[in-house]
């Protein structure tokens, strides 16, 4: 579904992403991990047209640069790390914004759009809150509203930048469970992730970036080794394998 070949992203003086080649298959969930500044976010932003890039990036076999903005937005829904949630908009109004790429330039939402939004709200248990202002929601409800907007976009690819920051432990699990459940409807997910234990439990495959380049790629079991995490994060960890799951535990030096 997503193919990156020799992807490069440059800021004025630094190379944020260098020669990155990877693929994300249809309905797969691939997570980018790596230390701060490794270029994880830049990869996502390049892919959805927010950053100019070198190399080749394809969605569904077609060059990302050949898509118009609206066309691309019908293929990719992007949830940034800190999405703007204007407190005065209602949940329904906010999720309706997700229909923008499906409307004509000056169009307004019709039946089909309201049905898509209703479906998204239902899917994320937000229908009872549809008329509430975003400002009155809790952190977890807000996260669901953001996901609902992305879902209303009806794009086959979902890009999530650090979907669990600023959520407590329970909400982190709920958010990731929700994304995982949405994959059942046919959704390719490409995300960045800070928490390695959660990354190991939800991702099909992990890609560890180091200073913009691919360092290690593979299953969570392969990537999350104490050696890799020492080499690239400079971290001292114990990795526990239990019931097919991988747990990364930091150790005090």
């Amino acid at each position: 579904m997503i193919e990156l070949r020799d992807l490069g992203v440059r800021f004025a003086s630094t190379e944020a992403v260098r020669g990155l080649t990877l693929e994300v298959a249809r309905d797969e969930w691939v997570m980018l991990i790596g230390p701060n500044g490794a270029g994880k976010t830049s990869v996502l932003r390049a892919l959805c047209g927010l950053l100019p890039f070198a190399g080749d990036a394809r969605i569904a076999g077609r060059d990302v640069r050949s898509f118009g903005r609206r066309e691309l937005a019908r293929l990719i829904a992007f949830v940034p790390q800190n999405p703007a949630t204007p407190s005065e908009l209602t949940v329904a109004e906010y999720v309706l914004l997700g229909r923008t790429p499906h409307l004509g330039y000056l169009g307004v939402e019709g039946r089909r759009d309201r049905a898509a939004v209703t479906h998204a709200l239902e899917r994320l248990d937000l229908l009872p809150l549809a008329q509430r202002g975003l400002g009155s929601l809790s952190g977890g409800e807000l996260q669901r509203a953001v996901l609902a907007r992305a879902l209303a976009q009806e794009a086959p690819v979902l890009l999530l930048d650090e979907p669990t920051t600023s959520l407590d432990l329970g909400r982190q699990q709920q958010a990731l469970d929700l994304v995982d459940a949405l994959r059942g409807d046919g959704l390719t997910v490409f995300s960045t992730m800070h928490d390695l234990t959660l990354a190991g439990q939800y991702a099909d495959r992990l890609v560890l970036l180091d200073r913009g380049a691919l360092a290690v790629e593979g299953t969570p079991r392969e990537v999350l080794s104490p050696e890799n995490l020492a080499a690239y994060y400079g971290a001292e960890v114990r990795v526990v394998h239990d019931d097919d799951e991988v747990y990364v535990l930091p150790r005090r030096r």
Binding site: G49, L50, R69, L72, L96, L97, R111, V117, A130
Partner: protein, 352 residues
């Protein structure tokens, strides 16, 4: 099935609810009638309506006014009221669109330098064109000055920043405004005999309003405000920021350019017709945000209607409070607008 239907009913943008639509329309009609009826020659509402109908063909309504009253009503008051309405509506709707386009609640229609440019244009016309504070050259010069200033701001803002576009435009606007104001002050000082005329123009007002001014300004205002009203949903999309709007498929720089061109053309035409009238572009949209809704689907159309009514009423005060003298209308909008806005601001806080 019924459950899905009712769910879909809740999945709507609020827009302007029916009571608010009615209230806004009633406010505008009331303001227009007050504007037409109040003055040294008092004319009753029924007389206004009958006289208006008598001027329409095929209705055969008797005009209750004598020739003098009829001339006062249709040649003096009506163009003044209509001009105040279209200027007020334009300034309010332009203010609301600038606030959305630049993510800046303090943005007013003069944000990008249209006022300073128009002020310089008017000053040059008065200083070198010997036009007094009326005539054709002055509004044209103000209009061109306003457009040129915003064009300069736009070019400067674009060259300054591709990353934080909104912020760089605002800073460019401040830069252009300061520079043009300096030039204007210099020209004014060199021609101190024109101080009074320049000052009178800058304070703004409708004392010289006539139908030809309405004819000149109306097309710009109509096209500009229609363009902004049509973009009200996209202004809501912009409220999630440039990046997210982009990832939702919106060409943000182009959208911002369209909004700026629309708001500027209309504002420049309004300023050319009436001088600089402050506060309308800020107070009216924010009052609507605080009382009705912050969605641009409500703010934009209601700003147009309420701004029109507000400036008509302000003009009535301007010409009656110290009659037969006139107050500058900018003084009235600020003197009554600011305390009113303070009350709205306070009461909206206690409501929450």
């Amino acid at each position: 099935m019924a459950a899905v239907g009712s769910a879909e009913a809740t999945v709507r943008a609020r827009g302007v609810s029916r009571p608010w639509r009615f209230l806004a329309a009633a406010f505008l009609v009331g303001a227009l009638l007050v504007g037409l009826g109040v003055g040294p020659v008092a004319i009753s509402v029924t007389a206004i309506v009958e006289s208006a109908l008598s001027h329409l063909p095929f209705l055969h309504v008797h005009n209750p006014l004598n020739a003098l009253q009829d001339a006062v009503l249709w040649q003096i008051r009506a163009p003044r009221v209509v001009l105040a309405a279209i200027v007020g509506g334009m300034l309010a709707v332009a203010g609301s669109s600038y606030q959305g386009a630049f993510h800046n609640p303090l943005a007013d229609p003069y944000l990008l330098g249209v006022a300073a440019g128009a002020g310089l244009g008017a000053t040059l016309a008065i200083a070198y064109g010997h036009v007094g504070h009326s005539g054709q050259l002055l509004p044209l010069s103000a209009f061109v000055g306003g457009l040129a200033a915003v064009a300069a701001t736009y070019v400067l803002g674009r060259s300054a920043g591709s990353v934080r576009m909104a912020g760089s435009f605002v800073l460019a606007g401040v830069t252009v405004t300061l520079f043009l104001t300096a030039v204007q002050t210099f020209v004014q000082q060199q021609h101190s005999n024109t101080l009074r005329d320049v000052y009178a123009w800058i304070l703004g007002g409708f004392s010289t309003a006539n139908w030809s001014q309405v004819e000149v300004a109306a097309p710009y205002v109509a096209v500009s405000s229609l363009a902004i009203v049509l973009h009200r949903r996209l202004l809501d999309v912009l409220s999630v920021g440039d990046e997210e709007a982009t990832s939702l498929g919106v060409d943000v720089p182009r959208l911002r350019l369209v909004l700026v061109v629309a708001a500027t053309a209309g504002t420049a035409a309004a300023v050319a017709a009436s001088g600089l009238i402050a506060f309308v572009g800020i107070i009216v949209p924010h009052t609507i945000r605080l009382l009705v809704s912050t969605s641009y689907r409500a703010v934009v159309p209601l700003s147009l209607v309420v701004g029109a009514g507000f400036l008509v009423l302000a003009d009535v005060l301007a010409r009656t409070v110290v009659s037969p003298e006139e107050l500058p209308i900018g003084v009235v909008t600020a003197f009554f607008g600011a305390p009113f806005f303070a009350v709205v601001l306070r009461s909206s806080r206690t409501m929450r």
